[in-house]
């Protein structure tokens, strides 16, 4: 251990690492880094390196730990023995047990555990490198991992600490400040500012605590923006289709903003994140308007009626790029192959059913506008070019699965396949008479949208837009019963 530096805050008000008092350290988040975990996150915050894996809801062992009315949430904070200067003894310490307990309690108010009685939701935190503030970093990472796992939550939990250094209240202590500072005050809060974790040691007057709260709220807001950007990126970015300019563009910019090793000037970056989000939203708006127009045109061409239905169906399922053509093609040309797909579809339908509640709705809303434009624009001229698309069609499902895409995109893909056969049978018979009914017989949640779009193609996108904006990327927020507006308040 080095000796205490003479000053932790220099005369010009900067800290040893060059930050201002109200600045957090640069944060980098990667989502879905572990293939076997249901949700995972790798987070770097300053020199902290944290890895979180989430499993569940899964069967709770031992059985006596099960609870009949709710899932048990288990949070295990563990420090790698090499994460600190002097080797830490492996295994749980009293410190890690305490941190596990308070961190679990930080998530209990937001995780909708009552939806999964008798199960366990496991959150495993590995601190790979520690540099003060690991419990707050772990909570931020866990929040993302839980969202990645699709665990329904009322909102994200965000955590940040403040402390006192050289008599001054500062945000997000680094190691030196933690060691030689006068106080450390970790806080975790929900999106609407309810405090779910609060610890403190050191020496603070009530006035200093008030001041600290202001700092922490600012810090948490910045972190929340980073978390949201990361989730948005993951759940909005199409995995393939490099020729599609629009989604790619947004994705790239977000990557830059989120992942670029931020300089010490942190605050401007948070602004940049905001701007990018706004830009993306504006873009989407524009696009969805175009979509509307395109739809209107399509509707007028009578011979395209059937195709149009298919397009809408495909839209609803968020089939990417050629998926639409695939559907059409498959129907027109490939009855033989469909049988094979049907089997697959059954299996996938069952698989999907378990995810439907959680993942379907936002995916549809968020991806729809972007995707459909290019498809529809291209569509009419390309009707005859099916032969080309065919080849791609066959490859795609495999490709995407190999690429290790999130469940969502698989589901979407499968949803498309799933409906083909059904649709084909019915659609060909009832082409004119009952396409809408045929569609609605299919059990997907996307149905209402299809109909509404068909009937009033202008309204549908208009309705979707605001939802998309307000509810943002963290699907967990809006999913289940309570859903809704919690996320908005804080921003």
């Amino acid at each position: 251990m080095s000796d205490k530096p003479e000053k932790l805050i220099t005369d010009d008000g900067l800290r040893l690492d060059g930050r201002h008092a109200d600045e957090i350290r640069p944060m980098k988040i990667e989502i879905g880094v572990l293939s076997r975990a249901d949700g995972s996150c790798y987070l770097e915050w300053g020199r902290n390196k944290i890895l979180v894996g989430v499993f569940g809801p899964r069967e709770a062992h031992p059985r006596r730990s099960q609870r009949a009315d709710t899932a048990v949430i288990r949070y295990k904070y563990n420090m790698a023995s090499f994460s600190v200067e002097d080797r830490a003894r492996p295994g749980p310490s009293r410190r890690s047990i305490e941190i596990s307990k308070v961190s679990r309690e930080a998530f209990e108010p937001v995780i909708m555990a009552e939806l999964f009685p008798k199960t366990a939701i496991d959150i495993f935190v590995e601190v790979l490198q520690a540099d003060a503030g690991t419990r707050t970093a772990a909570i931020n990472a866990s929040s993302i991992a839980l969202a990645d796992a699709g665990i329904p939550m009322k909102g994200l939990v965000t955590s940040c600490a403040f402390g006192k250094v050289d008599g001054q209240i500062v945000l997000d202590l680094n190691k030196e400040e933690d060691n030689y500072g006068e106080a450390d005050f970790p806080v975790a809060m929900t999106q609407d500012g309810e405090i779910t974790l609060l610890q403190m040691d050191g020496n603070l007057t009530p006035e200093e605590i008030k001041k600290g709260f202001e700092l922490v709220k600012k810090g948490c807001k910045e972190i929340l923006e980073i978390q949201q950007a990361v989730l948005k990126k993951k759940f909005e970015t199409p995995v393939e289709e490099p020729e599609e300019e629009v989604p790619e563009e947004t994705a790239e910019t977000e990557i830059e903003v989120v992942e670029a090793e931020p300089s010490l000037e942190y605050a401007p970056e948070a602004v940049a994140v905001e701007e990018v989000i706004e830009e993306a939203e504006e873009l989407e708006e524009e696009l969805s308007e175009e979509t509307t127009e395109a739809c209107a045109v399509d509707e007028e061409a009578p011979e395209c009626e059937k195709l149009e239905e298919l397009i809408k169906e495909a839209e609803a399922e968020v089939v990417e790029g050629e998926a639409i053509e695939e559907v059409i093609e498959a129907e027109i040309e490939e009855e033989a192959e469909e049988e094979a797909f049907e089997d697959e579809a059954d299996f996938e339908a069952a698989f999907e059913a378990s995810f439907e509640e959680v993942s379907e709705p936002e995916e549809i809303e968020e991806l729809e506008p972007e995707e459909t434009v290019s498809e529809e624009a291209e569509f009419e001229p390309e009707i005859e070019e099916f032969a080309e698309e065919e080849a791609r069609f066959e490859e795609e499902p495999e490709l995407e699965e190999e690429a290790g895409i999130e469940e969502e995109s698989q589901l979407e893909e499968e949803a498309g396949i799933e409906e083909e056969p059904q649709f084909e049978e019915e659609a060909q018979l009832e082409e004119e008479a009952g396409i809408e009914e045929a569609v609605s017989e299919e059990t997907l949640e996307s149905e209402p949208e299809i109909e509404s779009e068909a009937e009033s193609s202008e309204e549908a996108p208009a309705e979707e837009e605001p939802e998309e904006e307000s509810k943002g990327p963290w699907k967990v927020v809006k999913d289940p019963s309570e859903s809704g507006s919690r996320g908005e308040n804080d921003e």
């Binding site: 002097d86 305490e98 308070v102 009530p206 709220k217």
Partner: protein
């Protein structure tokens, strides 16, 4: 402490709270009767027993010599342990400490350590070689709620009456343990939207969350811990800090300052 409580009783306590009352007739800012005894265990260097309502906590302080930590060569060592003794409640079982026992021990420890209650520099015998290690062992004898406040009070009282056994080790005459501060912990339970001090066992079972505030005699907060699964609002936290500091000052004056004068 997941005591099981009848829904009927839960509703009763909740409804009382709405009316601004408590089960045992106390106000929201009233502690139960406190009885503090010190020097009960002559084998220990310091000891204190706190009876808070029906809650009983016994703290014994033992001092031993040992080597200092490498990063604090001239400072004594404080080790706090808290035992949820099975005689204290049917809920407690023998075995390694549960997470709530560990948490409570660490909160008590933090209050003492961070407030600078013990002058740890004076516990150094030879720099880098030999220092006093202060073992604070908290034994819960009967759990009727609010173990933390009782433990904090008993621990600081025991420390204030601790004698450093220098003679035993041939390093001069016995002296009282050098104290610099008197931290007092006050726990506030949140039931509905109300905060109340010193929750009884039933109130603990009903309350959604608790906040312990440990403060020193200068009115500064030395440690805090939120326990329980429900959130607090910022306003509630600030209110809890005010209430906690106020009650801590009262307790300090009533029970602990007498110990200082006695020395």
């Amino acid at each position: 402490m997941s005591e099981i409580i009848a829904t009927l009783k839960k509703d009763y306590i909740y409804n009382l709270m709405v009316k601004g009352k408590r089960q045992d007739g106390r106000g929201f800012k009233d502690f139960r009767d406190i009885k503090l005894e010190t020097g009960l265990i002559s084998k220990a260097e310091g000891s204190a027993k706190v009876t808070l309502g029906d809650t009983q906590v016994l703290v014994g302080v033992k001092l031993q010599t040992g080597t200092p930590f490498p990063d604090s060569q001239d400072e004594g060592v404080i080790i706090t342990n808290l035992e949820l003794n099975p005689i204290a409640s049917p809920e407690f079982e023998p075995g390694p400490p549960r997470e709530d026992a560990i948490e409570m021990a660490r909160v008590v420890d933090r209050g003492i350590r961070e407030s600078g209650a013990i002058d740890i520099k004076k516990l150094c015998i030879t720099v880098g070689e030999s220092v006093w290690i202060v073992f604070i062992d908290v034994h819960i004898l009967n759990d009727d709620g609010n173990l933390i406040d009782a433990s904090c009070l008993a621990a600081i009282a025991a420390l204030m009456t601790t004698i450093v056994p220098n003679e035993q080790h041939g390093i001069g005459p016995n002296v009282p343990l050098a104290m610099k501060e008197i931290p007092v912990g006050v726990t506030l339970a949140k039931i509905g939207s109300k905060l109340m001090v010193d929750p009884s066992l039933d109130e603990e079972a009903v309350c959604e969350t608790k906040l312990t505030v440990v403060s020193g005699s200068d009115g500064a907060v030395a440690g805090m811990q939120k326990m329980g699964s429900a959130p607090f609002t910022e306003a509630e936290v600030l209110e809890a800090i005010d209430m906690g500091c106020e009650k801590a000052a009262e307790l300090r004056e009533l029970y602990l300052e007498a110990l200082v004068k006695r020395e």
